[in-house]
């Protein structure tokens, strides 16, 4: 469903169902109101990934394998999770190579600090 403020009458939108990616030019990097980056898919989640800086080796696997461009790097390191666009698929957790993982799924309601406090310990080969 389109958000209320975006619904337009037959004579109010651009002809040909054409959509622009940016306000102004691409070089200005200001996304148009019609860019899906403006659209939240947060309510798709039942669980969310939580990041624990203590274990991260900044390998960027989570960044490259995220289907929703929701892992945002910063200066070649892990930056942050974009919770507006994260659907909670869990790929980032699955591909995280560290032990314990630097990303784990928790319920949507769990505050991040609590999740980090309750982080599991390193798994030994026997446990795995």
């Amino acid at each position: 469903m389109t958000e209320e403020h975006l619904l337009k009458g037959w004579d109010e939108f651009e002809a040909g169902a054409v959509l622009h990616s940016f306000e102004g030019t691409a070089d200005q990097h200001v996304h148009h109101i019609n860019n899906s980056i403006q659209h939240s898919v947060a309510d798709w989640r039942a669980e969310k990934p939580v990041f624990n800086d203590e274990h991260c080796i900044h390998c960027q696997f989570c960044w490259v394998y995220c289907p929703d461009t929701a892992i945002v790097p910063k200066d070649k390191k892990f930056g942050h999770i974009d919770y507006v666009h994260c659907k909670g698929c869990g790929i980032c957790v699955d591909v995280c190579p560290t032990n314990p993982k630097a990303l784990l799924m928790f319920t949507e309601q769990t505050p991040d600090e609590e999740a980090v406090r309750n982080w599991p310990a390193k798994e030994t080969k026997k446990d795995a």
Partner: protein, 317 residues
Amino acid sequence: MSDIKQIKNLKDFSTSVERFQGGHRLCPGCSHSVIVREIMNATDDDVVVSTATGCLEVCTAIYPYTSWDTSWIHIGFENAAASISGVEAMHKALQNKGKSHTDRPTKFVAFGGDGGTYDIGFQSLSGAAERGHDFIYVCLDNEGYMNTGGQRSSSTPIGGATTTSPAGKVSYGEKKLKKDMVQIMAAHGCEFVAQVAPSKWKDLVKKTQLAYQAKGAVYINAVSPCPTEWKFAPEKSMEICDLAVDSCVFPLYQIEDGHKVTVTYKPKVKKSVEEYCAAQGRFKHLFRQEFSHVIDEWQKRVDATWEHLLKREEAGL
């Protein structure tokens, strides 16, 4: 000719300016978007994209939203290749006439699912490849018409259950051999064709960069595990990719100039087809006693194809 973007490692790669934005409606865990992001990030040049009707198109351009930070066109199901042919021809014409819209290097990429590539889009792909338009065709191969609930395509492997080749009391699902699009496109004389998997980002990006530099049409077949219709948990998409390449069901290789085979990934430990099938709900009926022969026959075919590829590579023909 524009320079190849330098990507030394994944950290380098992570500085890419994303041109495929979130907020799209693809399923959680969809491999399509991982492939698209890797393809788009492999170059800094402008890329004009066409897409066939299917999951990618339907989920990334629902009016009034677009997920594409690049020019993009969808016309129909059959014609991703024909539509990009037209854009590419216009680009050439305007350059000839000194009327180009841009002085930035521009690349052309068509995305199609296996439906829009192996089946209904095959003719226009063949035509575009034969004419040698400078573009990359990427098939997002999830082995069926997944956007409409999982109907069979000529990419569906034997034993795969789909809604139009369902497993049942007497049937083990799909009975026809999966078409070999990579070989078919190699036979078009393309400078370069390849098979890739999104979980092997380095292999995919390397091939994509070669593709961006090639003349004429390049065909890339990308395995795209679909959690929804292959029936596995969404977080496992990249694991299923790895199983696909480690069992050699989806060998990673390339063919140059229609004949020269290079196998670009050789698994240290070759996994079994059975393990590949066990991880996906669409094959669970094959574990019934009366259908187990299907897996055995499939293992034989995979082994034969793998051996043949290795021999071709060794022979250097």
